[in-house]
């Protein structure tokens, strides 16, 4: 039971940190992408959209190549650590958060930006209010980002190694349990994952509905 709690907390921690880092990278870039007009905008958008559909194992492979003992960042000794999983999950979640937040902000009426600036808003004040107006889309982007990494298994296995007590997370533990025929344990883990997914969606739905009431 202790191990179960430890695995769950590690899963939550790794995915939470990865989502937070992805938000810090994805939201500003998504905002810039939504609000600026530049020549290669179409190309950037399609790269981001491809990134959103990036197979996690490809992200895992890329990070594994990078962190492998003989790889360019091998000296950091990060392979098979939670940090490696976080890194891979950032690669997976960032395009999701970037793309969805760009779409959410892009859906706002362009006149809103003009109106805010016409009332004397600075660039930061304008962005703050646009985020506030797009808050439900941004929340959805955040949840989608978290959802994409909490349930991910391929990359976590590849760069984490599923080391008991160190890098074993809910999904990799389940793969191992099923492989060993420990269906009871796998079902327990599945229950926890489902509960987490339910919780995430519950928060999102609640926020959307209270947003509508306002």
């Amino acid at each position: 039971m202790d191990e179960l709690i430890q695995i769950t907390l590690l899963s939550l921690g790794v995915s939470g940190i990865a989502t937070a880092i992805s938000l810090l990278i994805g939201l500003p870039l998504g905002t810039v992408l939504a609000l600026s007009v530049f020549r290669s905008r179409g190309i950037v958008l399609s790269v981001v959209n491809t990134g959103m559909a990036l197979p996690p194992v490809v992200a895992g492979l890329a990070i594994a190549l990078l962190l492998w003992r003989s790889g360019p960042l091998g000296d950091l000794n990060l392979i098979y650590t939670p940090s490696a999983i976080i890194l891979a999950e950032v690669v997976i979640a960032t395009p999701v958060i970037l793309g969805l937040s760009a779409a959410g902000i892009g859906q706002l009426d362009p006149r809103l930006q003009v109106q805010l600036q016409g009332l004397g808003a600075s660039r930061m004040q304008t962005v703050f209010w646009l985020w506030r107006e797009a808050r439900l889309s941004l929340l959805a982007a955040l949840m989608a980002g978290f959802g994409s990494v909490i349930s991910e298994v391929g990359a976590a296995m590849m760069v984490g190694g599923n080391i008991s007590g160190q890098t074993r997370v809910l999904t990799t533990a389940m793969v191992l349990d099923v492989g060993r025929g420990n269906f009871g344990a796998a079902i327990q883990l599945a229950g926890i994952l489902l509960a987490l997914a339910f919780l995430v969606n519950g928060i999102l739905t609640w926020a959307q509905q209270s947003g509508k009431r306002h």
């Binding site: 009426d109 006149r111 809103l112 003009v114 109106q115 805010l116 600036q117 016409g118 009332l119 004397g120 808003a121 600075s122 004040q125 209010w129 506030r132 107006e133 306002h214």
Partner: protein, 376 residues
């Protein structure tokens, strides 16, 4: 050099002015204005057809669009793009759509104050005062989403007025309001502009609105400023044919001045001769402009009926080609060799029994005719 427009304050200068402004969109020039300005207590109504560049001018004045060329000056000081925020902290903008933020009415109106670092009790007092002045104080704690179009636009106006800005920029502020509430809102806005006079630029396609609120009227057509004068001058003495057409001068008869006697010119037009007050010389090609409300009609061949007024010096005969309803009037088009249009009250049209095909006489005063010089 510091940016301190107040240091150079000069009451005779426009508060906000634009010089040699050019705005291009997709390589195409959409606006080209040599000179435009609004004085300290003036309301300039910028009018023109849809797509003429009125809103573009308004947004360019706040450096919210372009301009690719030219300059905007606040109290005589050049506003560079780097100083745009300083300029915008001295203006208040209202757009055609209310563009309210998804929060309470109170927080909407406080938004601009918060951008300027004004908060707390001072902000609350000002917000309440202006909500009250616009008649929406009762909606203070409501969500902006629950408002009607008229209420929402009142909140949007309060949000700009509360800043007590040096320049108010209003872009079709009544366009989104339904007809029933519009007239009252125009009146209320006019009252606020009189009570707290400030430099105001009002963009509108509605001449009635422009006449009610404007101390000057600037006509923009195809991205150019065609005429800038008091509203009554623009309406009665448009400077060219396009402006004449836009301000509702429906009778436009081309002709040539054949004689002048004591300032009264005789113009030969297609369907006869017209006497008009003129500053032009003999031989000048002119366009005779007549507003429909200045033309009186009577049926021809009714000698028993006396002439309505003896001062109506001009008389043209023709056949009625079209009658259309226009509010309390009917608008009658008469073919007098060229088209003459008259507004007749519904009552008198019925009394005379006007019908298409009737032969009528159109009469109008020499003073009602405005001549535009034509260069060929």
């Amino acid at each position: 050099m510091t940016f301190d427009p107040d240091a150079a304050e000069d009451a005779t200068r426009p508060v906000l002015e634009a010089r040699d402004l050019v705005v291009r969109r997709g390589g195409r020039e959409v606006l080209s204005i040599a000179k435009f300005g609004v004085s300290r207590h003036g309301t300039v109504a910028v009018v023109g057809p849809n797509g003429a560049g009125k809103s573009t001018l308004l947004l360019a004045l706040a450096l919210l669009v372009g301009p690719q060329e030219g300059s905007v000056l606040l109290k005589g000081q050049l506003v560079t793009p780097r100083l745009a925020l300083h300029l915008r902290r001295r203006i208040g903008l209202v757009l055609a759509a209310p563009m309210l933020l998804d929060t309470t009415v109170r927080r909407n109106v406080a938004a601009g104050l918060r951008f300027r670092g004004i908060g707390g009790r001072q902000a609350d007092v000002r917000v309440d005062e202006w909500l009250d002045r616009l008649g929406v104080l009762a909606l203070r704690d409501r969500s902006a989403r629950e408002l009607s179009s008229g209420e929402a636009q009142r909140v949007s106006l309060a949000r700009a007025f509360v800043l007590e800005p040096e320049v108010l920029l209003l872009d079709e502020p009544f366009a989104s309001v339904d007809a029933a509430a519009r007239s009252q809102l125009i009146d209320d806005t006019g009252r606020l502009l009189r009570e707290t006079p400030r430099a105001t630029v009002l963009v509108t396609h509605d001449l009635d609105e422009a006449g009610r609120l404007g101390t000057r009227m600037s006509v923009i057509i195809n991205g150019r400023l065609r005429q800038d004068a008091p509203p009554e001058v623009v309406l009665s003495e448009p400077c060219d044919e396009d402006v004449a057409a836009f301000v509702g001068v429906q009778t436009r008869l081309p002709g040539r001045i054949t004689s002048i006697d004591d300032g009264l010119a005789v113009v030969e037009v297609g369907g006869g001769r017209i006497e008009a007050i003129s500053a032009f010389g003999i031989g000048q090609q002119v366009m005779c402009c007549l507003r429909p409300e200045d033309v009186t009609l009577r049926l021809s061949g009714q000698s028993s009926q006396p002439m309505p007024t003896t001062s109506a010096r001009n008389r043209l005969s023709g056949v009625i080609t079209k009658i259309v309803g226009k509010g309390p009037f009917v608008q009658v088009s008469v073919d007098c060799g060229a088209k003459v249009v008259a507004d007749v009250t519904k009552a008198s049209a019925n009394e005379m029994g006007l019908r298409e095909g009737d032969l009528v006489e159109a009469t109008f005063k020499a003073t009602a005719v405005h001549l535009i010089g034509l260069t060929l």
